[in-house]
Amino acid sequence: MRRLILAALASGGLFGIGLAMSGMTDPRRVLGFLDVFGEFDPALLFVLGGAVVTTTVLFRFVLRRGSPVLASTFHVSNLQHLDRRLLAGAAIFGVGWGIAGYCPGPALAGLGIGSIEALWFVPSMIAGMLLHRLVARA
């Protein structure tokens, strides 16, 4: 249990450093990246590119193992089908991302880097999760 927690702490820490170093925690840069038809700032392509190439290579080795190092099973979704829920959810998320320039990781990192905006965004994001829970249950 303790080792699982330490591993998560280390992974989260590395993740946070990556977000801050790459520029993802600055919503001005993120909106510049999304501004494809305006003053496009391509730098963040390197963030997504670097991250995805890394996971594509490393995940292959990791998932070849029968089980993770500290736990009994991999908790990985094996859903294959595409449905309206996936598409609509992702589309709604994108609209929110395009408005303010925050996706969940950088928004939480904002709490650490002293962003006043994160103090408004993060509780609203949690309220949105709660709202989905209520709607999905109804």
Binding site: A20, T56, P68, V69, H81, L87, G89, I99, I116, L131
Partner: protein, 138 residues
């Protein structure tokens, strides 16, 4: 260092962090899902999630405090905009089961069709939203 190098290195660090969490704990480093699990407590499964998020928040803050020439966080975005964007991001990531990290960094890394479709969907609506906001504003 040029911004694209920092972006690339930061991206690789994010990819390594995600690979570490999968390798050691067998978990997907999807920030919206991890946060959801903390807030809407799944029994006995909270500690590693809290550790991951705490690591992310604190490490991002420490990096920014130590990085030379780090720009101050944006602070002038409208509160209403932050609240609406936060609600959409929270709702959409739950409905679509993932965000930039879960579907983007991890899902693409394991060649998931659902994640590929989700990424296309949220990138498209984010870019379109940015386009509309830019033209509505000018």
């Amino acid at each position: 260092m040029p911004t694209w190098v920092l972006a690339l290195v930061g991206g690789v660090l994010i990819g390594v962090a995600a690979s570490l969490l999968l390798w050691l704990n067998g978990r997907i480093a999807g920030v919206s899902g991890i946060l959801n699990g903390v807030v809407f407590n799944r029994a006995g499964d909270t500690a590693w999630r809290v550790a991951f998020l705490l690591g992310l928040i604190v490490a991002a803050g420490l990096y920014m405090a130590a990085a030379p020439g780090a720009s101050l966080p944006r602070a002038d975005f409208s509160r209403g905009g932050l609240i609406v964007a936060g609600l959409l991001v929270g709702f959409g990531t739950r409905m679509g089961n993932g965000c930039t990290s879960g579907h983007g960094v991890c899902g693409l890394g394991r060649l998931s069709l659902r994640s590929f479709v989700a990424v296309i969907a949220f990138m498209t609506t984010a870019i379109v939203t940015k386009f509309i906001v830019r033209h509505a504003g000018s």
